[in-house]
Symmetry: C2
Subunit: 272 residues, 2 copies
């Protein structure tokens, strides 16, 4: 892959990278479609990165379907699928980890210690392997996007990071490979997650600017979902990800909930 990348660079070609964990859905394909016209060589990486999962998490059951992914890539005119295995990515001994402080600490970082360390590390590896000039990440994983942007800036990766808005099902549920885990009943109720976020925005527009007050209303909506457990609902500055006590400027409303065993995240930006 590195030699191939070097060849493309010598030819003056632009390499674009879409890093994924596979089990592709419309959200991923949207990333491909946005990057496709901006680069000469479009690379998608498919790798379920073990070091971003805690031992208690869903690494083993994370959905995989390479053949389906390959067909989708073909129809989207992806040039290269980079599809390494764990031993290629993490030959032992492996000791090096990248930590993006502050930005990794709140939100999902608080519930999933070590998660963003695993993400930053694998993304740096992918950058060094694929050598892209452009890469794109989805805004559903908003904190991940901010962590990657900070890492790129701090470590001087010569890569422009693009992002793309959340792609949703017709009923509003944010697309995610993990939606597959939901039972029909859970799936039917899951759009209430997005409803709670839309309600947050509406309440703000109606004059409510206290995150605690809005959170209460959101919880009353979310509680209609069967087997629901709220992991967090946070109102943070959209750039620093620091919690805000009042909505002003650009505020990210981010949440993570469990529906049964399935952990789902979603977010919305409110411009105060």
């Amino acid at each position: 892959m590195q030699m191939t990348a070097d060849d493309f660079h010598r030819q003056g070609k632009i390499i674009g990278l879409v890093p994924t964990m596979g089990y592709l859905h419309e959200g991923h394909l949207q990333l491909v479609r946005i990057l496709r016209p901006q680069c000469d060589v479009l690379v998608i990486s498919i790798f379920v990165n073990p070091i971003q999962f805690a031992p208690t998490e869903d690494l083993d059951k994370y959905p995989r379907d390479f053949e389906r992914d390959e067909q989708l890539c073909r129809s989207e005119k992806v040039d290269i699928i980079f599809y390494p295995d764990n031993l290629e990515m993490y030959p032992q001994p492996f000791h090096t980890f990248i930590n993006v402080e502050k930005l990794s600490e709140g939100l999902c970082g608080a519930s999933r210690p070590g998660h963003f360390r695993g993400v930053a590390t694998v993304v740096a590896k992918l950058f060094n392997i694929v050598k892209p000039q452009l890469a794109i990440f989805g805004e559903k994983d908003y904190q991940q996007l901010m962590v990657i942007k900070q890492m790129v800036k701090d470590l001087n990766f010569d890569i422009t990071i693009h992002s793309a808005p959340i792609v949703r099902e017709a009923d509003g549920l944010a697309m995610s490979s993990r939606n597959k885990y939901l039972s029909p009943e859970e799936r039917k109720a899951a759009p209430l997650i997005y409803q709670s976020l839309l309600t947050a925005r509406t309440l703000y527009q109606q004059g409510m600017d206290d995150p605690e007050e809005i959170t209460e209303k959101m919880i009353s909506i979310l509680q209609k979902i069967p087997r629901l457990k709220v992991d967090y609902i946070s109102f943070v500055d959209s750039q620093t990800l620091w919690p805000v006590t009042k909505i002003k400027g650009e505020v990210l409303v981010a949440l993570a909930v469990y529906i049964g065993q399935t952990r789902l995240i979603d977010n919305i930006v409110i411009r105060g």
Copy 2:
């Protein structure tokens, strides 16, 4: 620098990097001379990296002389001197740090917490800025060399790491920018550091293979140095840097001592 590097890559040229903190001596020049014939474009970086110094250390008084360094570079046919300032390297907010676990923990890493995190981070930055295919590090900073090699492997930097043996003054003292701190009296006694390492090797060759026993003999030599304080004397596996209890295989004997305020390091490899 990145655009310049891209141009060279498009021309199929090989970039070699010699990272330094300046105040160049024969040790640095040796690195240049080894790398010079292997690359088309030789880049030397001169940057006293603040994040590898603890607040109590000698960052402020670390010797600097850019004009002299520039002349030395010119006479060695260095093509590019990359000489950034702190604000270019660490614009605020800066949050990203690279940790090479295990290898960073013993030896100097134990006495200087955070030191190798600072080293790994700045070297990754320099790699991304200069985009070399080759880089070289001196074996005096043996642990640093091992940390960098592990980082390069773990993060898939497409860079070949070379190393070069310690360059010594005529009397055996390892060359170091910090030798400048020594008073004439201290300087005169400082070669006993290397003498203690040579004695370790001789004792081993004479049949002594217990690190503790050899260490005692080394200390009795080092104690002839005025104002001496031993930071550590360690016998470690030359690859893993794990302490050995008996010399066999390739063992690194590494030490750090203070002579007054000046901290000096040196090492020797014993092949058991």
